[in-house]
């Protein structure tokens, strides 16, 4: 019973903080939209080109905006000792990571479901493809959140060169990009296998992320 109370308490706190930092989420979305604008300006008004590369642009920017959320994961809670406090309330680090993954996915990735269609309209992408992008993003976004979480926990003790965290995220995201982009270009009979592959990556990441992050957090706390 106590563990359930602790989990609700953590959800409550994450919600409060996310609500008070709404502009953080807005910044990330603004980055995403502005990035697309810049692509449009630099390539010029050519509908055919955008139909070919539009989806790639959207996925690239989703990945880059995911980089902006790395610091939100554990950095503050680690510095003020909250991670240990949560541990002392009876939660294992794996559980803390899992709750953080759910809340961060909810607050940072769900808003994109509204803004991806807008971006698609800006890039003149066909309606059928918009559904596919949203479907791949539904599967791909938890993977992106997991990757940001892994990178954030790996860099808890790293105060000097935080940019390396972004590089880790980009490296790990390559498979997500390949398969998400592949689905849209694939002929209809190949959509399903590609989708299963993407779901496979999702299940892999969801199952290993709590253990990896918990191990990293433990190491960081022992060396703090």
């Amino acid at each position: 019973m106590q563990i359930i109370n602790s989990i609700t308490a953590l959800f409550y706190k994450e919600y409060k903080i996310a609500y008070k930092n709404l502009y953080d989420i807005l910044t990330i979305i603004l980055f995403f939209l502005l990035g697309i604008f810049i692509f449009v300006f630099s390539i010029g008004p050519n509908e055919e080109i955008f139909q070919q590369i539009g989806i790639g642009i959207i996925w690239t920017l989703l990945l880059l905006s995911n980089n902006l959320s790395i610091k939100r994961f554990y950095q503050n809670d680690f510095k003020d000792g909250n991670l240990h406090l949560l541990h002392m309330s009876g939660m294992s680090y794996e559980l803390i990571v899992l709750v953080k993954l759910i809340t961060n996915w909810f607050f940072l990735q769900i808003p994109f479901f509204i803004f991806i269609p807008i971006a698609c309209l800006m890039l003149n992408i066909q309606n059928d493809n918009i559904y596919l992008i949203l479907l791949t993003f539904l599967i791909g976004s938890p993977i992106l959140t997991s990757i940001a979480s892994i990178s954030g926990s790996l860099n808890l003790l790293n105060n000097r060169n935080i940019e390396i965290a972004s590089i880790i995220v980009m490296l790990l995201s390559i498979p997500v990009i390949i398969f998400s982009f592949g689905i849209i270009k694939a002929p209809p009979e190949l959509i399903k296998p590609q989708l299963s592959f993407l779901i496979g990556i999702l299940l892999l990441f969801v199952s290993i992320t709590p253990w990896i992050c918990a191990a990293c957090i433990k190491i960081a706390i022992r060396n703090s």
């Binding site: 106590q2 903080i17 000792g81 240990h84 949560l86 703090s224």
Partner: protein, 207 residues
């Protein structure tokens, strides 16, 4: 009952302390004392299972705390050197969060009187980042009352507090000891509490 034997800690090839033994039974209070850099916070962190000691073991009721971590944690309130209250949440939000987190059965009237005693009752809706240093420390110390655990481990509980609050904290310590509690704290200030045991960490330094 807390027992620690032969604790030692090294950092960057420098011994901070060596072969330190410690035992604490109910109704006892230990004051860790020593100059800066002598290892007070380090020892407290080792006792709270934040850091690993290089040698020695810690037992709670005869069980190694490394193997029975959660049982130990369910008896331990740890006030850290950093402030665990969230800057962006108001005083009352922080308190609500802790109450839920530790499944506390503290009554709202009790909480109200504690807040009144600490002069925080008028600042309930103020964000923690707008409080003064002493007020943040007081907010932090409210966790002692919320968690209602047996063993209190405090790192610099007096830093930044005014005289009234110090008297109040000492009173709380005495009450806790009378109800079979146990306390270890590190501070430069020496409070007037009967049967206080003082450990000078300089004695265990490198030799």
């Amino acid at each position: 009952m807390l027992l620690a034997n032969n604790l030692s800690f090294r950092r960057e090839n420098q011994t901070i302390f060596n072969s330190l033994d410690l035992s604490l039974s109910p109704k006892k209070i230990i004051h860790l004392y020593g100059n800066n850099g002598v290892g007070k916070t380090t020892l407290i962190k080792i006792l709270a299972d934040v850091l690993n000691s290089d040698s020695g073991e810690i037992y709670w009721n005869g069980k190694n705390i490394k193997k029975n971590t959660y049982e130990y944690f369910s008896n331990l309130t740890y006030i850290m050197d950093s402030n665990t209250s969230n800057n962006q949440m108001s005083v009352i939000e922080n308190i609500n969060y802790w109450t839920k987190l530790f499944s506390s059965n503290i009554k709202s009237t009790e909480l109200e009187s504690v807040l009144k005693m600490l002069f925080l009752n008028t600042k309930k809706d103020i964000k923690a980042e707008n409080l003064s240093r002493g007020e943040i420390k007081k907010l932090e110390l409210i966790r002692l009352v919320i968690e209602k655990k047996k063993f209190w481990l405090l790192d610099e509980p007096y830093s930044g507090l005014d005289n009234d609050s110090i008297v109040l904290i000492n009173e709380t310590f005495r009450n806790h000891l009378n109800s079979n509690g146990m306390i270890i704290f590190a501070s430069h200030y020496c409070p007037e509490i009967p049967n206080i045991e003082t450990i000078d960490l300089a004695k265990y330094a490198n030799n």
